[in-house]
Structures are given as structure tokens and as C-alpha cells.
């Protein structure tokens, strides 16, 4: 039996909650290329990711493992997301429901992400408890109807873990539907 590795790309606008999500799951210290923010962004957060966050989770007893990559969501770092999105199994786009000023830009980034995307995508709506609200927001960003939407509170690690479970379930559904087609 060969080792199975599953990779999740986590992206989304500045300060949406990506790093929190990864930290909620990672068993290893999340390697983060975090730096001090400058300009307007420093008013929102003191630090920001400039290259990527990296976290891992491994099953006890076998070689199955999960790798999580978080990329900065700002437009200027889009190249990082573009590099990684072709190498992962599923993509999660995190948006902060309450940071409405980021929504327009988020829509741009989500559409850019969707371009040439060959794997399933999940929209995680942070600071949101209502699935209806979450779906509405996701659609307004340009999410497709079939895409999974998950409301969450990423400040809470349990919530983060649940989101990752949802992401993996989405991936599972995708794998099994394809397998069924092939069969």
C-alpha cells in the first residue's frame, strides 16, 4: 500500500483567516513566511504572509498525510497561488463575512483562482454562522452554484478543523464520483 498525500491550498483576501485555519489542523509548527505589514494593511493586521504558510497533519499509524498551503491573497502575490493551485487536490477560498470592504477584491481573486482550476473548490465564510448568508455571499463573489460553501468561526480551532473536514469531504465526493464514472 502506497502512502497517500492530500494537499489543500488555502487562499483568500488579506486577513480572512487562512493562517488560523491551517493552524487549527496542523500538527507541526506552521511555517509561515510572515512579515510586518506596511501601508494601509498595517492598520488591519500587524503581519502578513508574503509567500506561504505550510502545515501538515498525519494519520497515526499509517503514511497518510495532509499538507496545507496558505498563500497570500493580495493581488500582488497572485503568482504564488498560481504556482500552487496546479499542484494541490482541493482549494479553499476563505472570506471574512464581516470585512465587507474586502469583498470586491475577493471577487476578483476568486475569479482569478477559478480560471484554469482543475480541482474542487470550497468557499469558507469566516465570522459567519448562517449557511444562507454564506451562500449568498459566495455567489456574490462569483462562486459557482455547485461549489461547497461552509460558514465558520476560524478564531476557534474546532471550527477550523470542521472546515478542513468539509474540504476533505468535498474532495472525497469528487474522487468517488469520478471513480464511479470510470467504473
Amino acid at each position: 500500500m502506497s502512502a497517500q498525500t492530500f494537499k489543500i491550498l488555502v487562499t483568500g483576501p488579506f486577513a480572512a483567516g487562512k493562517t488560523s485555519m491551517i493552524q487549527s489542523v496542523s500538527q507541526t509548527h506552521v511555517i509561515s513566511t510572515d512579515v510586518v505589514t506596511s501601508g494601509d494593511e498595517s492598520g488591519v493586521k500587524s503581519h502578513t504572509t508574503v509567500a506561504m504558510d505550510f502545515g501538515t497533519y498525519r494519520l497515526h499509524g499509517d503514511d497518510t498525510r495532509l499538507l496545507l498551503f496558505g498563500t497570500p491573497g493580495q493581488a500582488r502575490f497572485r503568482f504564488m497561488t498560481n504556482i500552487l493551485k496546479g499542484h494541490v487536490d482541493v482549494v479553499a477560498f476563505v472570506i471574512d463575512a464581516e470585512a465587507t470592504e474586502t469583498h470586491a477584491v475577493a471577487g476578483v481573486e476568486l475569479r482569478a483562482l477559478a480560471r484554469d482550476l482543475r480541482v474542487p473548490a470550497v468557499i469558507a465564510v469566516n465570522r459567519c454562522d448562517d449557511i444562507t448568508v454564506a451562500r449568498r455571499l459566495a455567489r456574490s463573489l462569483g462562486a459557482l452554484d455547485g461549489e461547497a460553501v461552509v460558514p465558520c468561526q476560524l478564531i476557534d480551532p474546532d471550527s477550523g478543523r470542521e472546515v478542513v473536514v468539509e474540504i476533505l469531504l468535498t474532495l472525497l465526493a469528487s474522487i468517488e464520483s469520478t471513480t464511479a464514472e470510470v467504473a
Binding site: 513566511t33 512579515v35 502578513t48
Partner: protein
Amino acid sequence: MTPTDPTAILDELVESIDGVRAAILVSVDGFGRARSSSISDEPSHAAMLAAAIGLAHQLVVMGGGQQLRQLVVDHDGGLMLVWPIGDERVLAVIATTTVEQRRVRAFVQSRVAWFTGARS
């Protein structure tokens, strides 16, 4: 009069040292701060440099070190010397292969205050 604003200093760097073609000063989070007149204003440059330095810091840890001194891109078109300046700035110098690196370093070092903005 000695130039004191970063752009003028970078222009002086390019003009006074043979082999230096261009120089860019960026913030660690990927914004351009100043550049020599010899290079165009390209937002992706700043972001890529910030990402590269960010990753280079990780490589330092991987290599058992603690402090990144420089990142050098050595290619058939020349050299790119990338230096962290303080905690929040990164300077990239685009040069020919035969540039006198020491001279460039000395030049930058003597003016580092103006790159970090501590002096005006």
C-alpha cells in the same frame, strides 16, 4: 550635495558603480518603495522579491542558520544581489556578473539610514 532620498541614492548607485544596472528597494510585505530610474515600475517585482526573501529566511533555518545575509541570483545575464535592510526593507541590485560586489555593499551600507528612512 549628497542625495538623501532613496530614489536618488539608487540612481547614484547605478551611475557610480560599473556593472550595476538597476536597484529596487521594497518593503518586506511586497510593496515597492523606491527604484532607480533604470527600471520600470512593476508591482510584481516588489511582491516577488518579498516572497523570495521570505522563503530565503526559511532556507536559512533549514540550513541551520539564523540570519539571512544575502540572496544571490546568479544567472547568465548577470547577478542579482538581494539584501535585507533592517527588518522591513529589502534591496535588490541587478548587476553584471563582474560587478564589484564589495563596492556595492559598501555604498549601500554607508547610506542604509536613508533606505530605512531613519534619517531624512
